[in-house]
């Protein structure tokens, strides 16, 4: 799983039946310090709770489909949970 930030929503005009009720969000992937890293992508939101500005963690491939119910659906990336806080240990405390 990796961190990301919701930067927008996607409103499809037409979508396969299995995804009809699933929110789709634009995600900017982040590094562990919360800095943008890589290209934005579209995530399905199985939690149905994420909105713009929210930090989330997401997963790709088969695991992305498993976040949804039913899980045999055509998605690449999906949100697993919402981040309240990332607690990084101070670098000087790491061996």
């Amino acid at each position: 799983m990796l961190l990301g930030r919701v930067i927008g929503t996607v409103v499809p005009a037409l979508l396969v039946d299995e995804l009809a009720a699933t929110p789709l969000l634009w995600i900017q992937p982040l590094d562990q310090a919360g800095r943008p890293e890589g290209d934005p992508l579209v995530c399905a939101d199985g939690t149905r709770m994420a909105g713009p500005g929210q930090t989330i963690y997401w997963v790709a491939s088969r695991e992305a489909a498993l976040t949804l119910d039913p899980s045999f659906v055509p998605v690449d990336d999906a949100i697993v949970g919402l981040v309240d806080e990332v607690r990084l240990y101070p670098p000087e405390d790491l061996p």
Partner: protein, 91 residues
């Protein structure tokens, strides 16, 4: 599996049910000599790993689902071991 070092943790209240009651760790990826490669991964904890520890991370979905004993778990990365030492043959 990959080598990693625990650099932090993630606090999450709203999540998929598989995360409930489990610890989410931030781990930076290490090369065999113990240097950070620049990448990281958020992994579930299966062994009780803590701050700064070098760990073995399973980064494969089917294996993770076996460890969690849940055929539908949407999890790929899971910390499965704590590393004492890595010995490399000198070339």
């Amino acid at each position: 599996m990959i080598l990693g070092r625990i650099t932090g943790s993630v606090v999450s209240t709203i999540h998929h049910p598989i995360v409930e009651g489990r610890k989410l760790l931030v781990a930076e990826r290490l090369d065999p000599t113990g240097h950070a490669t620049g990448g990281y991964v958020i992994a579930l904890d299966a062994v009780g790993a803590g701050q700064g520890e070098t760990v073995l991370i399973l980064d494969e979905g089917n294996g993770a689902r076996q460890i969690l004993d849940d055929a539908d778990a949407p999890v790929r990365a899971i910390v499965v071991g704590i590393v004492d030492a890595v010995d490399l043959e000198r070339s």
